[in-house]
């Protein structure tokens, strides 16, 4: 007997597996409860993400900022799962949390002598920046809530890996190959940039 672990529009899915002959109102109640639960999960994840981002933006210690950044990345991965993009969420965790963040901590450790230098993460020009982003946030909030977006009712969540791979190898074949070139160039460039200078003796 299969069990449903995420909200979907399939009515047969919403009934409990043990009692298939449940009356209609019970199904509606169950779906409403599922919806409320997914809203609760959304608010939890969104709160975690935004709180971590606030930590990144306002922490005075760069190491704390880096760890808060990890929280923000994980929260974003959770949001991707809620948006039915399971593959992207896994890629996010692998690439960001596994790669970029480790690289960043590595650089933090490399560029400071942790023991004797206090790692500062001071800010300059806070007040003008706050004014700018408050203005920007106001304008964008107005844009978000006053536009009537073209909306489709979201389909039931299903695995996206097949569709993404298909798109990569048909519609987006050229960008895909270019992306690999860009990655190669970026890695070679990073090696060239970060090696020690040998000539100035």
């Amino acid at each position: 007997m299969t069990r449903c672990w995420r909200p979907c529009s399939n009515a047969a899915c919403a009934t409990s597996p043990s009692s298939p002959a449940i009356k209609k109102p019970a199904v509606a109640t169950k779906r409403r409860r599922l919806e409320a639960m997914s809203a609760l999960v959304f608010y939890l994840i969104a709160g975690l993400t935004i709180a971590s981002a606030i930590g990144v933006a306002f922490s005075r210690n760069i190491v704390y900022s880096a760890f808060a950044l990890m929280g923000a990345f994980m929260g974003a991965a959770g949001l991707y799962v809620m948006l039915a993009a399971d593959f992207i969420a896994v890629v996010q965790v692998l690439v960001y949390v596994g790669g970029i963040l480790v690289l960043m901590l590595f650089a933090v450790m490399l560029t400071h002598r942790i023991a004797d230098v206090r790692i500062s993460n001071r800010s300059v020009g806070t007040l003008p920046a706050l004014a700018i982003i408050a203005l920007l946030a106001g304008v964008m909030m107005k844009a978000i809530f006053s536009t009537t977006w073209h909306a489709v009712s979201p389909a039931a969540a299903q695995p996206t890996t097949y569709g993404i791979g298909d798109a990569f190898l048909t519609t987006y074949l050229l960008p895909f190959e270019l992306a690999s070139l860009v990655l190669l160039a970026a890695l070679i460039g990073a090696v060239v940039l970060s090696r020690k200078e040998l000539r100035a003796e």
Partner: protein, 102 residues
């Protein structure tokens, strides 16, 4: 209340604004890079939210993968530049690196 497009756009806006705040105010070059990563993540949330609630296809997810990939390349180059900065100036304070300033 049902979670819809506007909810995700609001979260993404919050991430964008905080990332922009990082970029504008940090004196530490790594802090600026972290702000850029936050901004790229907010763009990704937008892509996926529109793909789910507004277009319904896979295009948004494909572009999100491109964004993640470019973010990885950007982080590699950015960290290399930060290391070069440190070798040249012995600091990664952006206020102190003013050789090219006119």
């Amino acid at each position: 209340m049902e979670i819809g497009l506007a909810h995700y756009l609001t979260v993404s806006l919050a991430l964008f604004v905080l990332g922009l705040f990082c970029v504008l105010t940090r004196r530490n070059a790594l802090g600026v890079l972290m702000g850029v990563e936050l901004i790229l993540n907010s763009a990704n949330i937008n892509y996926l939210a529109f793909a789910r609630y507004s277009s319904g296809g896979y295009d948004g997810q494909v572009f999100a993968i491109f964004v993640i990939m470019l973010a990885a390349a950007e982080a590699a180059i950015g960290l290399a530049i930060v290391l070069g900065l440190y070798q040249t100036f012995q600091t990664i304070d952006l206020e102190a690196t003013e050789t090219l300033r006119g």
